[in-house]
C-alpha cells in the first residue's frame, strides 16, 4: 500500500496543478495540495528567492514522519521546519522519530531557497527541477518502506551583464616563473545596452585587473602573480550602473613550482644490492617530472644524489630521462641501481634546471635490499 502511495505521489508531481492558496499563519506560506509545485519565475542573478509549502501530513491517509528533503538543482536549498503560530520554529532532525511530527500547535513547513548568487553570472532559461520530501511510516522500524513526496520547481536566472567567453576565470597551473593571464568581455544584455561597467576589484592582491572600454563592450584583463604555492581563489567584483546588481566573478588558480614531480616526489624500490640492476628490472622505477618554465626548453639535470647522512650516492645510481610524447615539458625520470651498496638507503635525488642557480627539485629516494 505504501508503494502505491509513493507512485501516486510520484505521478501527481508531473501535473501542472495550480499554486495553492495562502494560509493565515504566514502570508508567504501556502497550503499545498499533494502536488508540490512552484514557479519562482526568472530570478535576477545574484538574488535569491524563497518559497514555503505547508505540508499537511493528514492528507497522506496514514501516519508518516517527515525526515529530510532533497532537491536536484545545485543552487537550491531546502529544509523542513515545524512552526508554531507565534513564529517560533524547530527543525526536523531527520531521525524519523515521532517527535518530528507536528504537534497540535505546529505546522510542517517545507522551505525552499534558490540562491542564484551561487551560480556563474550566466542566463539560465526557465527550467524545472525535481525534488522530494522523504517520509517514514510511524510503524516502520527499519526505514525500508519510506515514501517520497515529490516536488517540482521552476525557475530561470537573468544575468544582466553578458560575460564572454568566460564567466569564471580558471588560470589552471601558474608556475612560479610565470604569470597567469586571462581575458573576458563584458557588456550589458539586450535590456541593459546603456549600462556602464567598472571599476573591477579583486579580493586577492596577487590578482590584478585591467578593465578597458572598447567600442561596445568592456575588456577585462586579469593577471595573477604567483605567490605561495598551492590553490588560490579570489572574487572579482565589477561595478556597474545597473540598479541593485552586484557582479562577482570567481577566479581560481594553483601556483606550482617550476620543477615538479607527480604524483609525489619520491621513488622507492627493492633491488638486489650485490649486483647492478638490469635495464628491464628498472622499468617501473620512475617518477614523472615536469618543467613549467616556458621561457626555456624543458630540461632536467641531476644536481646531486645524496643519502640522508650526507654520503654521495652518485656512483650507485644511473638516472635517465625520457620525454613524454604528448607533453614535451614532461619527462619520466628513471632510476636504476648500479651496485656498490651493502644495505638499503634513504636519500634524495636533487634535480636542477640551471646548475647551482636552481631551481632545485629534491626527490626522495628509498631503496630496500631485495632478499
Amino acid at each position: 500500500m505504501r508503494s502505491c502511495a509513493l507512485l501516486v505521489l510520484l505521478f501527481a508531481s508531473c501535473r501542472g496543478d495550480a499554486t495553492p492558496p495562502n494560509t493565515p499563519q504566514n502570508p508567504n506560506a501556502q497550503q499545498a495540495p499533494l502536488t508540490l509545485e512552484h514557479d519562482f519565475g526568472i530570478i535576477p542573478h545574484g538574488e535569491s528567492r524563497q518559497h514555503e509549502f505547508v505540508l499537511d501530513l493528514a492528507r497522506l491517509g496514514e501516519p508518516y514522519v517527515p525526515m529530510r528533503v532533497h532537491i536536484d538543482c545545485a543552487c537550491g536549498h531546502a529544509d523542513l521546519r515545524l512552526r508554531k503560530a507565534d513564529g517560533s520554529e524547530r527543525f526536523v532532525d531527520s531521525s524519523g522519530a515521532a517527535s518530528n511530527r507536528p504537534a497540535d500547535d505546529e505546522t510542517l513547513v517545507l522551505r525552499i531557497v534558490i540562491d542564484s548568487a551561487t551560480r556563474e553570472a550566466l542566463d539560465l532559461p526557465h527550467t524545472q527541477s525535481r525534488g522530494y520530501v522523504l517520509l517514514q511510516h510511524t510503524a516502520d522500524m527499519t526505514g525500508n518502506e519510506r515514501i517520497q513526496w515529490p516536488m517540482l520547481l521552476r525557475f530561470g536566472i537573468d544575468a544582466p551583464i553578458l560575460l564572454r567567453p568566460l564567466a569564471t576565470l580558471d588560470f589552471g597551473r601558474v608556475p612560479l616563473s610565470s604569470r597567469g593571464h586571462l581575458v573576458t568581455t563584458l557588456r550589458g544584455d539586450g535590456r541593459h545596452t546603456n549600462a556602464t561597467i567598472g571599476p573591477a576589484t579583486s579580493s586577492d592582491p596577487s590578482l590584478t585587473l585591467e578593465l578597458v572600454r572598447q567600442e561596445d563592450h568592456w575588456l577585462l584583463r586579469a593577471t595573477c602573480q604567483p605567490t605561495d604555492l598551492g590553490n588560490r581563489r579570489a572574487t572579482i567584483t565589477v561595478g556597474n550602473t545597473i540598479v541593485g546588481y552586484k557582479l562577482e566573478i570567481a577566479a581560481t588558480w594553483k601556483v606550482v613550482p617550476d620543477l615538479e614531480a607527480v604524483p609525489m616526489a619520491k621513488v622507492s624500490f627493492k633491488a638486489p644490492l650485490a649486483r647492478e640492476q638490469l635495464a628491464e628490472e628498472s622499468v617501473r622505477q620512475f617518477v614523472m617530472v615536469t618543467d613549467y618554465d616556458v621561457r626555456r626548453a624543458a630540461e632536467f639535470a641531476v644536481h646531486k644524489i645524496v643519502a640522508d647522512d650526507g654520503r654521495d650516492l652518485t656512483t650507485h645510481f644511473a638516472i635517465t630521462f625520457q620525454a613524454m610524447p604528448e607533453n614535451a615539458r614532461q619527462h619520466r625520470m628513471f632510476v636504476r641501481y648500479t651496485g656498490g651498496l651493502t644495505e638499503g638507503i634513504r636519500g634524495a635525488i636533487v634535480l636542477t634546471k640551471d646548475g647551482e642557480r636552481g631551481p632545485f627539485l629534491p626527490i626522495e629516494l628509498v631503496v630496500f635490499a631485495a632478499k
Binding site: 536549498h77 531521525s95 526505514g143
Partner: protein
Amino acid sequence: MTASPLISFLALAFTGSTLLATLTQCGNGNAQSSGVQLVTQDPAPADLLPPADRIKILVSGEMQGRLEPCGCASGQSGGLARRMQHIGEQRNYDLLLEGGDLIDGATPLDSLKLMAASEVLFLMGKYDALGVGPKDLLLSREDWNLFLTGAPVVASNLTCTDPAWPAKPFLEKDVRGIKVRVASFLLNLPESVRGKDSTIQMVPTATAWTNALAGADAATRRIVMLHGSDTEIRALIPQLQPAPDLVVGVDPGYIEPSPVPTKVGGVPLVFTGTRGRVLLDVWLHRDANGPQAVCELVPLAGSKTVVGGGGDPQVKDRILAHRHEVKAEDLLTKMARQLPTANGAAYVGTNTCRTCHPTAYEAWAKTKHAHAWQTLVDGENDPKRYGWPVTAYPDCVSCHVVGYREQTGFLSFEDTPQLANVACERCHGAGSDHMAAPAKNKLGLIGGVAPSLLCTQCHDYEQSPTFLYGEKWPQIEHSCEPNQKTKK
C-alpha cells in the same frame, strides 16, 4: 588485471610512507587561518571566541566511483578536482575524512577508478582516514590491497587473514596537542564476503570499540564512521561507550549531507552524502554539555564556461590520465557481455524490430534516442566538452547503447552497430524469443518496472536534473502497429 608500472609505482610509493606522512604532516595547523586565533584591537569576551579545542573536519563518503561529474548535464556538482581545489584553498582543515565506498562494483573499471582515487586522495592530497564500505569489499582483495597499501584505511570491526590487508583498527592524529582517534564500523558485510570461510570476519561491536580506543585517554576526541542505513546507525550509537564525540554516518540512501547535525544520546551525528557532490565542513569541540558540532555545506559547483568545469589542474590531469588508461586497456570490450540478459533472450537489433513495427520505428527514428551514440561521438570530438575518449568509457557508453555488459549486447560500434543508440531493446528487452514466437513471448518493459523508473536508470537526478517522465514521454511516444494490440 595485470599490474601496470604505474600501479606498482603507486604501491611502492605508498608503502611505509603515506600513513606516517598523513598522521604527522597535518600541515593544517595554521591557528590564525583556522579561526582559532582572532586578532582584534580590543580583546573579545571569552564566550565570543571560538573554542580553543575546535577541530575543523571535512567529511565526505560514498563517492561510488564518481571521480568527476559525467558531464551529461551542464553545471553538475562535485568531483575530485573541485574537492582538492577547495581543500587547497582553505588550507586549514585539521582532519580530512572519507567515509568509504570509493567505488561502486567489482569491474576492471572500478579497479582503475580506485587506483586514481587513492592516488588523488592520499598521494596528491593528504587525507587522514578512509573508512571501508561494503562496496569496497566487492573488489578483488588483491587489487584493493595493492592500491591502498600504506593509505590511512581504518576498519575497526573487521579482521582479515590476508597479511596485506591495509586497514587498521583505528587511526590517531595529533591536532594542535589534541589527540583525535578515528574508527570505522561496517554494520553489514556484503553477501559475497560472508561466511565462516571468508577471509574477512566481523568483530563484535563492543570488542571492536574497545580495541579502537585502546590506550586513548578521556581527553582524546573519538570520531567513528558508521556504514549502514541511518536507522541502523542511530540504533548503534547508544551502544558505543564511552560515547563518541562525533559519528559520521555513511548511508548510500542519504544523498546530500544536512547542515544541521542531529544528536543521538548527546552524540552529534552527521551524514556524508553520496557521490561527492556536496561536502560537509564540521567544527567539533567539547563543552560542559558534551561534544558539540557545527556544520556547513560545501557545494562544489561547476562552471559552464571553463573547460572541464574547473578544479585542481593536477587532479584534472590525473583523471584525464585515468580516462586514457581505460581506453588503453580496452575495458569497454573486456567488460562487455559479462552478464545475462534480463529476459534470457538475445539481442537482435533495431532493424529486426523494424520489420514488424515500422510505425514505432519511424517514431523512434525521429527522437534523440536514435542518435544517442552520435551524441557521445560529438562530445568526444568537442574539446570544450570532454576532450577524452568518451566512446571508450563504459560508464558513458552504457547509457547510449543497447545491452552493454549483457550477453549478445553492445560490444563496440564497429562490431555491433545495430546495437548503438538507445533503441527498442534498451527498454523492451532482448528480442530473439519474441521474434521467434511473438504471440507467446510478448515484450513489455524490462523487468516490468514502471516507465519512469526505467528512464531514471540513465536520466537520474545528476545526469538529467530536469527530466520529468510526463514531459519527456511525448517526445519519444510510439505505439504498436494499428493491427497490433496495445499492451495494457
